[in-house]
Symmetry: C2
Subunit: 387 residues, 2 copies
Amino acid sequence: MSTPFQIDARDGSARAGVLRTAHGEVHTPAFVPLASTATVKTLHASEVSALGYEMVLGNTFHLFIQPGAEHIAEMGGLHEFMGWPRPIITDSGGYQVFSMGHGSVAAEIKRRRDPGKNMIISIEEEGVRFSSYLDGSERFMGPETSMEVQAKLDSDVALAFDECTPFHVERDYTRASMERTHRWLDRCIAWQREHGPDRQLLFGIVQGGVYEDLRAESAAYVSGADVDGVAIGGSLGKEKVEMRQVVEWSLAPLPEERPRHLLGIGDVDDIVHAVAGGIDIFDCATPTRLARHGTALVPEPARRWRLDLTKSEHRTSREPIAEGCPCPACREHTRGYLNYLIRAGELTGKRLITLHNLTFMGELMQGARAAIAEGRYAAYADAVLAG
Amino acid sequence: MSTPFQIDARDGSARAGVLRTAHGEVHTPAFVPLASTATVKTLHASEVSALGYEMVLGNTFHLFIQPGAEHIAEMGGLHEFMGWPRPIITDSGGYQVFSMGHGSVAAEIKRRRDPGKNMIISIEEEGVRFSSYLDGSERFMGPETSMEVQAKLDSDVALAFDECTPFHVERDYTRASMERTHRWLDRCIAWQREHGPDRQLLFGIVQGGVYEDLRAESAAYVSGADVDGVAIGGSLGKEKVEMRQVVEWSLAPLPEERPRHLLGIGDVDDIVHAVAGGIDIFDCATPTRLARHGTALVPEPARRWRLDLTKSEHRTSREPIAEGCPCPACREHTRGYLNYLIRAGELTGKRLITLHNLTFMGELMQGARAAIAEGRYAAYADAVLAG
């Protein structure tokens, strides 16, 4: 099987390359902004590409619930629907399905009367039954459903349906769940290779919790499967140190030539370490979600790269978020104005900080790609981590 | 007194000209978008000028309550605060103060416990006492307060403090209120000419309700005062026909050479008629407020120029809002996508329709200016009104 991924430069375990998809190229290492609900919240699609992004992530679960995959297919697929002609990766829905609470019968009845939260009704070999947050109706998602939804969305990269176990789950359940996830992977591959859109890529997901042998086993299983890339999933540990260890265990058995996606990780230090370990693609809600709550990303490790603009210390500041940043929040506005906008609940504030945070993440990844190409990634990582 | 307004072309009673302010020129007839809370909601300032707008309207009342005029002065004035280097007109706060309910003592006590709505405590010769919607605290605004706040905001055009009477008010109250508004005008002029910022222009406001003689008397009074322009205020009648009549009565006694602002009117047909009658400047919340609720402006008089994109008939539409419109909502997105975004509560939807509606209003006014300059305004008005 030919891989759609080409590695152009290596620097230690870090790699810079290009992923080729039906809707164009993605230069890696890449951060992928979330367009969970068919929009990068507060931006329209051409603004996201103007920021230099080549791929966004659509959320299978959210789009399945609203407006529905059939509707998006009728509108010409997710690219057409949201006016984004470039690559799209879709998650499998597994993460959302498994982060719901388990419900009692009483809670289930209550839910039908008062929707607003999803709830798992049952997890079986076939898949998962749950009640929708939109109207309380009973819905089902399993490997074939997930692949079918992703086929209707017509994404460039589909992710296999997996159970995402929380970090505190005991070893026995983690093993059983991982093995089911592997069986689900085989069903995803079978469905997708037969019915999926031409040129849609499929990434398998490594699970195995916080257990070294299970991670190794899972990585070997996924690597041996007919997939175009490998994603590392699951709750990756309670502490950053544990998370990095889990990523390392998961990476070790993976073949060099396939693209590697680390799911849901987006903190600056985590990205810098994971790129060093050989991760190619990241997605995370944090940069855009923080923005909507008034927190800007800044090159200051001592603050964990976060500047909370809602704090009163910024009220009278006439400084930009970050000197030299080319985004409109920094070029045209002050911290004081952003503090006011966010506190007054103005959409303009959420939007300006979203533009800033995505500019910041774009520059971080651009810097990483350039450093790997020039064989100076370690120095780049040190500089980022030193601030 | 020299007038800062120059008329470059006339066509019947319609005029095209330019208003010169401390922060630049405004070509008229002009529509002025509302930046009530120091932002044209969903946009940042440079986006508003990119749409071709030369002036925005800041709201004295809202900014007095939050973040406070002192704070904005400390931040360098409203232009600096919001990053808008072009002309700003500020309303007087009168409209907001007088659209509050009158409160009982009980309601007043309740209000202190549970703010959220303003309430008038008393209207006196000195000014108006009310409780703030933000924290229930007692606040005062009179002519001098209003001018002082507008001075701190450092707007290019200040509006005199007036009582805005509802259309159903009886003649005796309307006369008494109008006369008090005239006395307030004199106090505004006295304060502003002594303490106001250099080059800040001051417009007086014509009141007089729906009574022809009172409108004539008020227009004559304001025209005779030391003001740089005249605004027509008040609730202008229950029906459009009545409103146009009131505008006509108010315009008749006005000197040709002063700029004329029609307050709070923004429907397409009303603007087209008022420009024909000799109005130069308009401001209105409607185009941007409608946008945030999912209604787009379209060149269709039969729909009152309004297309409600939340309706299910647009769900599967792959048409743009309006063919040929240069805004990103029309160039890059479908009615179906906008229908989804608005129904899902996505900020991107509010923003895209705001961009569209302000593009529409900008083109309407641009067309009017060109038509007056070329002596074909009647034909232009007919074409707009025929759709």
